[in-house]
């Protein structure tokens, strides 16, 4: 029992069960329990979950990345523009977007570790730069704010099979989500790099004294979050055969929310990738469950906010109990 109570993801796991039971009772008759209903919230959870896995790793290392939301817009637009304007193969366009995202992540990380400025501010800056740059370039090149027609791009069918196909009614991104979460959890819990991540966030000075290259760890993690944003952008660009300049708005906060719901501390040094997956699932369930329950969407944010506070209270409560149980 003590070992279970000790897990940071316990709160979010309880939340997932509670929310599912609640909507099953309250909205089960209107399709929440149906396959199509489950597929809609799993699809949302899968995309947010991939982002949240990377973001939670970065948060455990004590940093934030607010630029991921506009990175989604920038990557998606890069893919769409290269295909639509230059007739590139979609794979080449995706590769360029991925390199670009790694570059942005590297720049974010470098500025943060070199200047010692709070990453909150640095990445808020890159959020604005990316989002403004996306609008600027897109309007300069096309005169519009949406670029579509991706389904006519070279090699689109193979990209669709990998990023946007459906398996038994469920989006393939759910498989990606499971894979990414498993990989991130393995890195965090079973590798030396994972220990470095905990150390970089929990006790940076002591970790540095042990000879761990903390700056390099952080830069790598910034590159990971940026790359995961690019992955989401690829999913959405292929699934919706195009991009618009506002895509991904607010995703940075949703990813942080999922990580916090999953028991990751805002101050770093403590957290869980599995928890972030539960957090994303919780978020997806609430977002779609409210529709199935027929609640006016005007009230959606009230519900979400209340849930966030409850989840954090549960986490804190569980952690205090766990600390007592250990004594």
């Amino acid at each position: 029992m003590r070992r279970i109570l000790n897990r940071p993801e316990l709160g979010a796991a309880c939340g997932v069960v509670a929310v599912w039971v609640f909507f099953a009772l309250y909205a089960g008759g209107s399709g929440f329990l149906s396959k199509a209903g489950s597929a809609t919230y799993l699809e949302i959870a899968s995309e947010l979950g991939i982002l949240a896995a990377a973001v939670s790793l970065l948060m455990i290392a004590g940093e934030f990345d607010l630029s991921v939301g506009s990175m989604i817009a920038a990557s998606g637009m890069t893919i769409s523009l290269l295909c639509e304007r230059l007739g590139w193969s979609i794979w080449a366009a995706i590769a360029v977007a991925m390199v670009l995202s790694l570059g942005v992540g590297f720049a974010n990380g470098l500025v943060v570790v070199r200047t010692r400025l709070p990453s909150f501010i640095v990445t808020l800056g890159s959020l604005f730069i990316l989002s403004g740059g996306t609008i600027g370039v897109t309007r300069f090149v096309t005169g519009r704010t949406q670029v579509g027609g991706l389904h006519e791009a070279l090699h689109f069918d193979s990209a669709q099979a990998i990023f946007a196909s459906r398996i038994g009614g469920f989006s393939v991104s759910v498989l990606w989500w499971v894979g990414v979460t498993a990989l991130a959890a393995w890195v965090l819990l079973r590798t030396q790099f994972g220990n470095w991540i905990f150390g970089a966030g929990g006790a940076p000075e002591a970790t540095r004294n042990l000879g761990v290259p903390v700056p390099r760890v952080k830069i790598a993690l910034f590159m990971t979050t940026s790359f995961s944003a690019c992955l989401i952008a690829t999913f959405q660009a292929v699934k919706f055969t195009g991009s618009d300049v506002l895509r991904g708005t607010g995703k940075e906060l949703e990813a942080i929310l999922a990580a916090v719901l999953g028991g990751t501390l805002l101050t770093g040094g403590h957290g869980s990738v599995i928890g972030a997956a539960f957090g994303a699932l919780l978020f997806g369930m609430v977002q779609q469950g409210i529709v199935f329950a027929g609640v006016d969407s005007d009230w959606y944010k009230v519900f979400l906010g209340a849930m966030l506070i409850v989840a954090v209270l549960v986490n804190t409560y569980v952690r205090v109990r766990a600390a007592e149980a250990r004594r």
Partner: protein, 334 residues
């Protein structure tokens, strides 16, 4: 064992809190259905129509559409749900449509500001045998998506009409303020407007502002005014409010002609007092009301208009008819 009980209590209390949060959200709904109990046929109450639009709750324009939907539901006694994403987020909106389709409604009403992003979700609804009507945005694509009918205003023509009116008032250097960058319909309005101005021998350009931040919008318009602009076209109440504030700040109300899309009490008062030249009205109340009527009749009796676009606009509100429209606007109908 002790911790087992704690855990159970924990889950229990969480469920209760969640339940409480949700019941609160439900509370306003019964008001709309009170009228339904007096509806002549019980059959009608079983007709469920889902509405998914891109209009945020904070936009006065969309609250009129929602009033149209709710009044139609009251008048006809049918059951409706109304949903929109929290921000102008097409991915979230397509997932709202997915969720509504999974609920298997008798009819679906959608706005289509981005056919690329929403196309698949709408096609899936059509494939599931749900009759779909599009409103407001999407007049150019509704047919190829399998949508039965479009209720709204054609954007380019409405923008063009606004441009002609503006040029008629002597405007040579015009500005089109886009408050919802990413919405293809708004891009078309600006294009129509600028084409008409250019055709009449003037020039013009587009200014993108952030609808969610009125201060930002106002300051951007103020900055643009320095470039010798003598006419501004805004695409909705959020834009016109910011543009008017900017004109007041610069002391150029009346000197710079201001025209806008869509009516609010503020816009109407502005027209009455001569601060605004004109407003293009698309009578969005009908965009909420009519599709509910059409879908309810289609479900009950299988009758349907022959297809095509049911135009709800454009019409112009100028100083002459402003007073009459003001009364209705106060009731949230125009």
């Amino acid at each position: 064992m002790r911790s087992h009980q704690k855990l159970r209590a924990l889950i229990g209390s969480m469920a209760i809190i969640l339940a409480a949060a949700c019941t609160k959200g439900e509370a306003p709904k019964p008001a709309g259905q009170e009228g339904a109990t007096q509806a002549p046929s019980a059959q009608r109450k079983d007709v469920k129509i889902a509405v998914v639009t891109h209009g945020q709750a904070s936009d006065t324009f969309w609250s009129v559409v929602k009033n149209g939907v709710e009044n139609a539901s009251k008048d006809l006694g049918v059951t409706i749900t109304y949903n929109s994403p929290q921000t102008f987020d097409m991915v979230a909106m397509s997932r709202l449509i997915d969720a509504e389709v999974a609920k298997k409604p008798d009819g679906l009403v959608v706005s289509i500001p981005d056919p690329n992003a929403l196309g698949n979700a709408i096609k899936a609804a059509v494939a599931a045998g749900i009759p779909v009507i599009s409103i407001n945005s999407g007049s150019d694509v509704y047919k190829q998506l399998g949508v039965l009918l479009h209720v709204g205003q054609t954007e380019y023509e409405a923008g063009f009409g606004g441009g002609e009116k503006m040029a008629g008032a002597g405007v040579k250097n015009a500005l089109c303020v886009n408050h919802e960058v990413g919405n293809a319909s708004l891009d078309l309005r600006c294009k129509g407007f600028l084409d008409a101005v250019t055709k009449a021998g003037g020039t013009g350009k587009v200014l993108a502002v952030n609808a969610a931040d009125p201060t930002d919008s106002q300051q951007k318009v103020t900055a643009a005014l320095g470039e010798g602009i003598d006419g501004i076209m805004t695409l909705g109440p959020l834009g016109s409010k910011a543009a008017l504030a900017a004109l007041k700040q610069g002391g150029s109300v009346g000197k710079v002609k201001l025209g806008t899309f869509d009516l609010t009490p503020d816009v109407l008062a502005g027209i009455r007092d001569g601060e605004l030249e004109f407003a293009i009205d698309q009578q969005q109340y009908l965009q909420g009301y009519l599709p509910i009527v059409v879908l309810a009749q289609y479900k009950q009796y299988g009758v349907l208009p022959a297809g095509g676009i049911l135009p709800t606009g454009p019409g112009f509100v100028t100083k002459e008819n402003a007073a009459r429209v003001i009364e209705l606007s106060k009731q949230g109908i125009r």
